[in-house]
């Protein structure tokens, strides 16, 4: 059967089980858009290409499926860069298709030409320029395979206009053969044994778990591993949801804004079991003083993550789910030792409990002002912790991480690695597309919400009932906090007071509902009203201006040097 490149594109997406494309049309991709129209393929029209990538990202993180984008050449393609870099840092499976000028014009500085393959080389897992329509089906197959296998990540496929127009016999390959790409899934059994030997010998073990567990859908195995051994567990920002935060063995998040007990536990432990985490500088603080007394076991599917920042004693390359299964099998065979280690670490758990009592996560409730942490807590209560929470970046993100109780994987969407302001709203839109029956909330700041505010129109157009809660402190709060602490309160260019738009009117102008909360007693009733509203809502909560995120480990300090409330 002879098909054009544009038709092959549609057929290949169908074969890959793609349900929806997030995109924005333009000259170079008109023929694909024509086929989308003819095939009645589901497509969400965003208002900016960056929004398309973040939406596909939110769709992917919340569902575990590959997110798909389609944009035009030149500016359409360059607008995807921040979204790609965001997804790359957080290992999110995406396939982004960009239009390109005809192959004969490539390199001629043609209209709307950009060397997007060159530009995105360092922020994609892999990228392709399709030069011949005969390669198109194979490349699409490979793109989906690479995006979703191993350590997942975004793949970009650049489609010159003539490739889209040309025809060839269509046959979708069943298998992928890439000579240089063979991810390791099963952990080495000898390494697992050695790691378990260390666990059984340890007195002060702590598990340190990251987004890898969520990406490999290993939460069930993780729960069994932790509860069987009775080991305390701390999670990174990306790991939140992998293990129930309410569980007595959970220490909450660690790192720069981690809990006192999590950071103390890491610092005092004699064995750190890192699973699907990558020792990011926001987690380790000063590298030389990270877990100074501990041996380190590191489970990760990406060999480059191992011994990159911290020297690892027992590396285990493999998929978190497979490796944890390997551990569980071994643990079952060594029941006696498991009971022994449980007894041995009792004093350690008591010590952790003492730390918890000494400095629990807290904030001071004051009369007459709304504390942002209180708003997040109330969102948690009203949704029973069952919502999908997206965040922007900054204080809003950290308060959401600290005060919303995440108990299930894929319920927390946040730009952890790149720290992209403007991520939350489009990600929430994508998550709502994937989860039409769930409550999806973007916890935002008055700064970052303005970075992709145009996507409110997308939510309204497709009747996606996302709820945006702006913790409005009239400042770029996190930067202001650093200026307060480290720059003698010289608030250089961080004040947004009196220059922000009226968010209620803005929401209404887009055709969404807008509410404002100015008093503490309005928080619960207005949030309730917003949550039960059938369409998209923006809630502008006027919160305490100078509230900070605590605990805080200053950049470059050791984890023990926490500034507390």
């Amino acid at each position: 059967m002879k098909l054009t490149g544009a038709q092959i594109f549609i057929e290949a997406l169908k074969q890959e089980g793609v349900e929806v494309i997030f995109g924005y049309p333009g000259g170079a991709v008109l023929n694909i858009y024509d086929e989308i129209h003819k095939a009645n393929f589901r497509h969400i029209l965003v208002r900016h290409e960056q929004g398309a990538v973040h939406a596909a990202d939110g769709y992917a993180r919340s569902s575990g499926k590959v997110g798909v984008c389609l944009v035009t050449s030149g500016p359409g393609a360059t607008n995807t860069v921040t979204g790609l870099a965001t997804a790359y840092m957080d290992s999110v499976p995406l396939v982004v298709f960009t239009g390109q000028v005809p192959t004969l014009l490539i390199g001629n500085d043609a209209f709307q030409e950009a060397d997007i393959v060159g530009i995105t080389r360092s922020c994609t897992k892999h990228n392709y320029l399709v030069k011949d329509v005969k390669d198109l089906a194979r490349i699409i197959k490979e793109a989906f395979y690479i995006a979703s296998s191993g350590r997942p990540g975004p793949v970009l496929v650049d489609l010159p206009k003539n490739v889209i127009l040309d025809s060839t016999n269509f046959e979708y390959p069943e298998k992928v053969e890439i000579r240089g790409y063979h991810p390791t899934y099963t952990g080495h059994s000898f390494q697992i044994k050695r790691a378990l030997d260390l666990i059984y010998k340890s007195k002060r073990p702590v598990a340190y778990v990251g987004g890898g567990v969520i990406l490999s859908d290993a939460s069930k195995e993780l729960r069994e591993f932790i509860t069987t051994l009775g080991i305390p567990i701390t999670m990174t920002l990306m790991g939140l949801g992998a293990f129930p935060i309410k569980h007595p063995l959970s220490l909450g998040m660690l790192g720069m804004h981690g809990t006192f007990r999590a950071n103390m536990a890491i610092s005092e432990s004699d064995l750190v079991i890192a699973i699907g985490a990558r020792f990011d500088d926001r987690v380790t603080g000063k590298v030389d003083e990270f877990a100074p007394h501990a041996k380190i076991i590191h489970v990760d599917i990406d060999p480059t993550s191992i011994s990159k920042n911290i020297k690892v004693d027992i590396p285990i390359v493999g998929d978190c789910k497979q490796v944890l299964k390997g551990f569980l099998k071994e643990i079952r065979a060594r029941e006696e030792e498991t009971e022994k280690v449980k007894g041995r670490i009792k004093p350690w758990l008591e010590q952790i409990e003492k730390w918890k009592k000494k400095h629990a996560l807290a904030y001071k409730q004051e009369d007459g002002v709304i504390k942002p942490q209180y708003v997040v807590e109330m969102i948690g209560e009203l949704t029973k912790g069952e919502a999908i929470i997206a965040t922007e970046v900054g204080q809003n993100q950290m308060w959401a991480a600290q005060f919303y109780e995440f108990n299930e994987p894929r319920t927390f969407l946040t730009s952890g690695g790149l720290g992209t302001m403007g991520y939350g709203l489009p990600a929430a839109i994508g998550a709502q597309v994937a989860n039409p029956d769930k409550i999806v909330i973007d916890i935002a700041g008055d700064g970052s919400i303005q970075m992709n505010i145009q996507e409110l129109a997308t939510a309204v157009q497709y009747r996606l009932p996302v709820k945006i809660v702006i913790l409005n402190n009239a400042y770029l709060g996190m930067v202001r906090q650093w200026q307060e602490l480290f720059f003698d309160r010289r608030y250089s260019h961080t004040c947004m007071e009196n220059i922000a738009p009226d968010f209620v009117k803005l929401a209404e102008a887009y055709g969404a509902a807008g509410f404002r909360i100015e008093k503490v007693e309005e928080v619960v009733p207005t949030l309730k009203k917003a949550l039960s509203h059938p369409g998209p809502v923006m809630v502008d909560v006027i919160v305490e201006k100078f509230e900070g995120v605590y605990p805080m480990v200053p950049a470059g300090a050791s984890l023990k040097q926490m500034l507390l409330v």
Binding site: V117, R121, H126, L129, I146, G180, P303, T304, S307
Partner: protein
């Protein structure tokens, strides 16, 4: 410490750029890089000379392996290997130094590949030590230009 890596890659456009941009993006340095097709025309072999301690070399090797188009990475410096470089040296040749240049060239088994009234171009192959020694000896006689290929290398025996 200096390391010589042999990197087998897919012979496709953009692969060299991927390898080069990996080195620059991660702050690794490249002292020399040589690349050409292998017997199998779908593959290319790169010889990369770089520097780093154990941890950096581990990262370089892993990061290279992570590239989809990279098939195999061997750190030759961990084993016994031979390496060679081809150099062309254009000398300012005068009546007085011409004989001396030829004598030095002979000692190093160099070959004259071009000659004119004012110049003499010598071709020589060898390992780094030999080539540097020859260049040092020729310097006082007046070098006009040097072109080096960078190292190519191979493991010894049947390793």
């Amino acid at each position: 410490m200096k390391h010589t890596l042999s990197v087998l890659v897919e012979n496709e456009f953009g692969v060299l750029a991927r390898v080069a941009s990996l080195f620059s993006a991660r702050g690794f340095n490249i002292e020399s890089l040589c690349v050409a097709e292998t017997l199998d025309p779908s593959l290319s072999l790169m010889t990369i000379v770089t520097r780093g301690d154990e941890m950096i070399m581990e990262q370089i090797t892993k990061q290279l392996n992570k590239l989809i188009n990279v098939i195999k990475v061997t750190n030759l410096s961990e084993r016994k290997f031979v390496d060679r470089e081809l150099v062309m040296i254009k000398m300012k040749a005068t009546r007085t130094n011409r004989a001396e240049i030829l004598r030095i060239s002979d000692i190093f088994r160099g070959k004259v590949v071009d000659v004119s009234h004012k110049t003499l171009t010598i071709e020589v192959t060898g390992d780094e030590g030999k080539i540097n020694a020859m260049i040092e000896l020729l310097k006082p006689l007046g070098i006009k230009e040097v072109a080096r290929t960078g190292k190519i290398a191979m493991l010894r025996g049947t390793q």
